[in-house]
């Protein structure tokens, strides 16, 4: 089926105006004509569920539930789409905005939530085990501490990163 760009406009405009407004899509609409340069996106090559039929913007926005669209979080922020867009649009930046909304509505994948929780509570994306301690000791490297973790948690709290996760406070006190 050949879809003329006019139809594309109509379809996009048919999406809830709140979405168009929420993500400032007005700036995309006059330009983003499925030129498909942004099909350079690596995720389109590798991910079987992520096969845009039109442009990225179209596919995410026109889905039933843009914020809950699992494909959204597959964007690896490589920025290639931004490099190649002849109109200087950035699907990446748009995806970032939608990711933020997705996260704040509790619609992000559980691995994302765990990563955020790990960073805000321990200061690191990965847990430190005795294996780490042993490896570092053997190499003559200083042991890892969590001295900065308190500050990281404080900054995360005041800037809102912890709003959507449950943090168990230490029992002893």
């Amino acid at each position: 089926m050949i879809i003329a760009s006019g139809v594309f406009f109509v379809t996009i405009i048919k999406t809830p105006t709140s979405i168009v407004k929420q993500f400032n899509l007005e700036k995309f609409l006059p330009y983003c004509l499925k030129c498909s340069n942004c099909q350079i996106c690596p995720v389109t090559d590798f991910s079987e569920d992520y096969t845009p039929t039109e442009s990225f913007v179209y596919d995410i926005i026109s889905s039933e539930d843009p914020l809950g669209n699992v494909n959204l979080w597959k964007c690896v922020s490589c920025h290639y789409c931004q490099d190649v867009c002849p109109f200087g649009l950035s699907p990446h930046n748009l995806f970032m905005e939608i990711k933020a909304a997705s996260y704040s509505e509790g619609k992000s994948p559980s691995a994302v939530t765990s990563l955020i929780k790990s960073i805000v509570t321990t200061g690191r994306g990965f847990g430190v085990s005795t294996r780490t301690d042993k490896m570092r000791e053997k190499l003559g490297l200083s042991p890892l501490t969590s001295n900065g973790a308190k500050d990281v948690l404080k900054l995360s709290e005041i800037t809102g990163a912890t709003k959507h996760i449950i943090i168990e406070k230490e029992e002893e006190q």
Binding site: S47, C75, V76, Y80, A100, S108, V112, T132, L139, L155
Partner: protein, 298 residues
């Protein structure tokens, strides 16, 4: 007066690959990039999911790390593409936008910090390329690794956004190739140099996509007869090395391909004993390479 450099290892290296931290500490000063005593940074933080979910907190936590370097009057040399990607982007945002800097500083004041914007951050490959330079780098090579046919993988987050990372042409990268050539490595030019490693797809619950990315890359390098992949990012390293082991059954058309982090090869080319590279701890090992790495010691 040149500023001292602090090493920004990132979580993955300090926790899982501390031998790369050790190599950086030992080797970089030998080629003229002095490294000050370790200070403890916290997660950069992660530029994809963490930033996507919570952009402003990402910026403030990155600013906290930049402050730690500024307090020491130092610049940063990072060992991970993800860390450099975060630090470079956050730094530029803060340096170019006084209002944003002021807002961030109001939050940082809660922990007694303030960022002025004086820190320079570089990925170690960039620091070697720009500050040491290819000619001087070659002068440190005592054992050229001419038996390696290496395929470079610079990685998306070191290349993009190019106007901020300023490392190389993201559509046709050559800097890592030149750095490999300086060590005597035969550089394999192949189609697929800019393919994403795919490690982050797993965070979006897309394990299949992640395996496809791994496989596509390895088939590409294999087609051009590369006998190893060479990276400068611990996440790409983990994806290619551990990924090949974990997904062995799914990769039957693929020759197991060893993966080396650039500093390991720099060390070998400078005469470092094989044992000190920790290459023997990799999941994918080439006996032929290991014999040559050791053999040339004698």
């Amino acid at each position: 007066m040149t500023k001292p450099n602090l090493l920004f290892t990132g979580c993955l290296i300090e926790v899982n690959y501390p031998y790369l931290e050790k190599l950086a500490n030992d080797l970089l000063p030998k080629i003229g990039l002095g490294i000050s005593d370790r200070i403890e940074f916290m997660c950069c933080p992660e530029p994809i999911s963490f930033r996507g979910a919570t952009d402003y907190s990402w910026l403030v936590l990155a600013a906290r790390n930049l402050c730690l370097a500024e307090q020491k009057g130092a610049n940063i040399i990072s060992l991970c593409n993800g860390c450099e990607n975060t630090l470079a982007q956050a730094n530029i945002m803060l340096q170019n936008d006084p209002e944003l800097l002021e807002k961030v500083n109001r939050d940082l004041a809660e922990i007694g910090f303030n960022y002025k914007g004086t820190v320079k951050t570089r990925h170690f490959l960039q620091a070697i390329y720009e500050e040491v330079g290819l000619e001087k780098l070659k002068s440190f090579v005592t054992r050229p690794l001419s038996f390696l046919k290496g395929a470079s993988h610079a990685g998306c987050h070191l290349l993009n956004p190019a106007d901020i990372l300023k490392f190389d042409d993201p559509l046709d990268p050559v800097v890592l190739d030149e750095l490999m050539d300086a060590l005597g490595i035969e550089v394999i030019d192949y189609e697929g140099k800019t393919l994403c490693c795919g490690v982050s797809l797993a965070t979006a619950d897309d394990r299949e996509g992640s395996i496809n990315a791994l496989k596509t890359k390895l088939l590409a390098t294999q087609k051009y007869d590369a006998d190893c992949l060479i990276v400068g990012c611990p996440f790409c390293f983990k994806q290619y090395d551990v990924g090949q082991r974990l997904n062995r059954k799914r990769l039957d058309e693929v020759e197991p391909t060893p993966v080396y982090y650039y500093l390991q090869l720099l060390g070998l080319a400078m005469g470092l004993p094989f044992e000190e590279t920790s290459i023997s701890t990799h999941k994918i090992k080439s006996q032929a390479h290991m014999a040559l790495f050791k053999g040339e010691e004698a």
